[in-house]
Amino acid sequence: MASIINTVRATVLSIANKNNYGYITPSDFNLYAKQAQLDIFEDYFYQYNNWIVKQNARVSGSGYADIIKGLVEVVDSFSLTSSYTPILNQFDLPNDYYLVNKIYFIPDNTEIERVSQSKILSLNASQLTAPSEMFPAYTLEGNTVTLYPSSTKSVKIQYIRYPKDPNWTYVSLSQGEPVFDQSAADYQDFELPLSDQVNLVNKILQYAGMSIREIPLVQFGQAEESIENTQQG
């Protein structure tokens, strides 16, 4: 698959590198790329919420006009499922989790409900709703999940992970320019879809513009991003 990160870098350099003083080093680019990707990734969840509001107001369509479907597909591309066996009723979530979608026992697929710390004592004390094998619950403290009622049955967790940090890698310098190397062990492309390439360029331009104190560059990135957002509703 074609590398997005190389195209993004080339575009950013092409726009920013006026009179050769807007050059962005690979390490700086990787930092800005990480920031930009995280920003856009988080924005998917807010967009999802906004589009639900619009859908309920009957201002979104179905079929190709079903924007939510596209957003869900992108978010789902970050979905992972892992298995755990609790020790003393507890287990730790993976380090790269962004949000937990569901936790369930295996093999019976009984979903474990997330309960807030403020409610768990009352819930345990309730005759009608106390967590049970059929309707289990969990609380989250830091990265640690605690199961109610106490159980050592294996669980599966389906979660949305953070995107991996993008890393534009190179092998050597040729005429002062680093040569892109997609085969490096630590190479990492953007994980966002190709449709986000424009957003990535705009975001990175803003960071790069701030870095070299080139306000027109920042403004250009902001203006482009604003136009993009307006078009997307």
Binding site: I52, Q55, N56, E111, E113, V115, L123, S126, Q127, L128, T129, S132, E133, M134, F135, A137
Partner: protein, 307 residues
């Protein structure tokens, strides 16, 4: 839950007990109710969103409890012998009684609830009728009150026309073809039909969790018909409800959740309230099983002459 095969239904897949699934198709389980509700009535494009599963579970159970109290007609029946202290301990899942009968000589005899009390608490008193307390300031109580002791020993009397009636076995006079009695019963004031029952009587002590019987009941078999709340002693897997009430339960959960949520328009709450009530009426009518054949049998006696 998946549908059962015929073999699973009739033979429980060869496991014990064989009858585990008999009649199960009439019922929908609590798990199914909660699952279906979450699936069909909760979502970003639904009236209800952001509701915890335990909320749904609570209201589903409350609906089942309410239905069990009257509409469902799920009567439980328990047979036990009355002990020497003439008590029948209420079942662990007892909520209210429907009928209490004595099973004797192959016949079920419905018993009457005594309109008077036949049990009492008591406090210990000294010779000056002062109540006695222990060192912690709690009142001292005897194991049995006098009313209880007399009932257990058979020395108390009753206003019912049974063996414990104060007039039982007393003689009258037969003069000029007419019977005369020296006590206020029958001929003098007319029969009190409310107490004209010769079977033993009972009175329920709800707080103590026992049924107290009159003194001629020791060792007798009692059949208690009662209603529970359907919670099956807290075993969620055993909780189910008749399918005729399934739609009502969804409507009930929807109504109570919406009516307790902030910012829901009143017309939506009213709509769900009407839906809930209408579905309850429908389910009750369906469950009442008014069959033409049964009506015909009942109406057969309408033209019978009372001689």
């Amino acid at each position: 839950m998946a549908y059962l095969t015929q073999y699973q239904y009739y033979e429980n897949d060869g496991n014990n007990p064989e009858n585990a699934n008999w009649g199960s198709y009439q019922y929908v389980t609590l798990k199914d109710i909660v699952n279906n509700f979450e699936l069909m009535y909760v979502g970003n494009d639904k009236l209800i969103n952001n509701v915890e599963r335990y909320n749904i579970l609570f209201h589903a159970k409350r609906a089942i409890q309410e239905l069990n109290y009257d509409s469902l007609k799920e009567i439980k029946i328990l047979e036990l012998a009355v002990d020497d202290t003439l008590r029948f301990i209420l079942p662990s899942d007892y909520v209210n009684w429907v009928r209490i009968s004595m099973y004797k000589n192959g016949t079920l005899l419905p018993l009457t609830e005594n309109i008077q009390t036949n049990w009492s608490d008591a406090y210990l008193q000294d010779n000056n009728y002062k109540i006695l307390f222990d060192q912690d300031g709690n009142v001292l109580k005897p194991e049995f009150s006098t009313v209880d002791i007399d009932r257990i020993t058979g020395s108390n009397k009753t206003i019912y026309l049974n063996a414990e009636s104060p007039y039982d076995g007393q003689e009258g006079y037969f003069y000029n073809g007419i019977w005369y009695f020296e006590y206020p019963i029958g001929g003098r004031y007319g029969l009190n039909t409310e107490t004209a029952n010769q079977n033993p009587t009972f009175k329920i002590n709800k707080k103590s969790g026992v049924i107290n019987f009159s003194s001629d009941m020791a060792g007798e078999l009692i059949v208690l018909e009662y209603v529970s709340d359907g919670m099956e002693s807290g075993v969620n897997a055993d909780i189910s409800v008749n399918k005729l009430f399934e739609e009502f339960i969804y409507a009930y959960i929807k109504y109570v959740i919406l009516s307790s949520k902030f910012g829901i328009q009143e017309y939506i709450i009213n709509r769900t309230k009407k839906e809930k009530s209408a579905l309850l009426r429908n389910a009750k009518i369906r469950l009442s099983n008014i069959h033409p054949g049964r009506l015909l049998m009942n109406l057969r006696g309408q033209n019978k002459w009372i001689k």
